[in-house]
Amino acid sequence: MTKQELLKEIKNALQRDDDIAEDMELESIEEWDSLAALTLLSLYDQLFSVTFTMAEIGKCRKVSDLVALVGDKVS
């Protein structure tokens, strides 16, 4: 999966109308809340069969941190 595809998956998971970019602060994203974090756990589980903890997601500050979680699984 490419980085752009992952960003699109995250955008859809958040049910967001506008695109998201890697340099965006999570706090600045209106839809980012605890439900969004849960949704992301579920999404990563489905896409990559990796289960992160809420603490790991909670440490992320920017969209790029969310992408970095899955490391070399995105290109």
Binding site: E31, S34, L38, T39, S42, M54
Partner: protein, 361 residues
């Protein structure tokens, strides 16, 4: 690993009763921060829509009582022939004494030759209850065990805690487990991980933290949710992680132990925690979604211990009433506790979910 097979016991019928007040999440947007977009996400991701909640005067025991009366009447079983009753609930009539099964024993008019006790378990409780009932029948202790399983979790949720309030619905169920002339093997596996006990908890009200003026103070947390120490708290992320860590291996375990393949099983009925947990587990197991009902949460909410029997009544009523179906049941949640069961339901008494009437109270 705790795994066991019991012979000579069968499920004769299952009845589910929900209370009369229907709530729609769309009518409650004001409770959850007036954010319609967030409500839309809750509906879509968690699969929530409608649920039924009981009024102040109706308890879990009342719902289970009505379910039991419908069940025994439907099966034409004499109340005097019941020689065992188990009540599985986390919302009893009394928190310490007496045990609620005693109250139900009196209200149902059960015989003095009927044993009765409570079990405090939540989302794994229906499968644990089946294990107890099958053990009691298979060992020869009892001939007819009435298993009552239910919760009125809405009573312990703070209305402004959107992590729990829109999620939990109320229901009471009754199942009859009887001696079977056939071998009819039923398989169980049971687990506990008590290190997760603090992730689903009502902190105050027991002997560890008695109720006081302090425990009833409302606190608004960083996430905008409001509750007191006397309300249910749930850490959704930790519960999700627990489920994804433990459920897939537990499912493999029950398939191996029972010697059944996914092809031989008609349905896997998971505890209906929410839609996305079931979807994720099914995907992990390569289980087709038409074998894993996941829509009951949308119609009734998360019914805690009652969700597996409610799903059987909600989705499989016709099929298990008129034919023989091989099921795997999987309950998981508070404790943490999880259990699975491979069981056959052969032309049982199983009406669709019933609305509470309260005529017998």
């Amino acid at each position: 690993m705790v795994k066991i097979k019991y012979n000579g016991a069968k499920i004769a019928g299952i009845v589910t009763v929900v209370p009369e007040h229907k709530r729609r999440i769309d009518d409650e947007v004001h409770l959850y921060g007036n954010d319609p977009k967030q409500i839309a996400r809750i509906k879509n991701v968690i699969g929530l829509n409608e649920r039924y909640v009981s009024d102040v005067d109706t308890t879990t025991a009342d719902l289970c009582q009505e379910a039991a009366i419908i069940l025994l009447k439907g099966l034409n079983v004499n109340i005097q022939d019941i020689d065992g009753m188990i009540l599985v609930t986390q919302t009893p009539d009394y928190y310490s004494q007496p045990f609620t099964a005693a109250c139900l024993h009196a209200k149902l008019g059960l015989s003095k030759d009927c044993l009765a006790y409570d079990v405090n378990l939540g989302c794994s409780g229906f499968v644990y209850g089946q294990w107890l009932a099958h053990m009691m029948v298979s060992s020869g202790t009892c001939k007819n065990v009435l298993l009552l399983v239910g919760d009125t979790t809405s009573k312990i949720c703070h209305p402004r805690d959107r992590a729990v309030a829109p999620l939990f619905g109320d229901a009471g169920t009754a199942t009859l487990i009887q001696r079977s002339q056939q071998e009819n093997p039923t398989f169980f596996t049971l687990h506990t991980d008590g290190t997760g006990f603090h992730n689903i908890i009502v902190p105050a009200g027991g002997c560890r933290m008695p109720r006081s003026s302090e425990t009833s103070i409302e606190v608004e947390y960083d996430d905008g949710n409001v509750r007191t120490k006397e309300h249910l708290y749930m850490n959704g992320g930790e519960v999700f992680n627990f489920t994804m860590r433990e459920l897939p291996p537990a499912m493999k375990e029950i398939f191996e132990f029972s010697g059944k393949t996914i092809e031989q099983i008609d349905y896997v009925v998971f505890h209906q925690a929410n839609k996305y947990i079931i979807t994720n587990i099914a995907r992990r197991l390569n289980l087709p979604m038409d074998k894993a009902p996941a829509e009951t949460t949308g119609r009734y909410g998360n019914l805690s211990s009652a969700s597996i029997p409610a799903t059987i009544c909600d989705v499989l009523s016709n099929e298990v009433s008129s034919s023989s179906k091989e099921l795997v049941l999987a309950g998981f949640g508070v404790g943490f506790s999880w259990a699975t069961c491979a069981v056959k339901l052969d032309s049982i008494f199983c009406p669709e979910v019933q609305l509470y009437k309260g005529n017998d109270k």
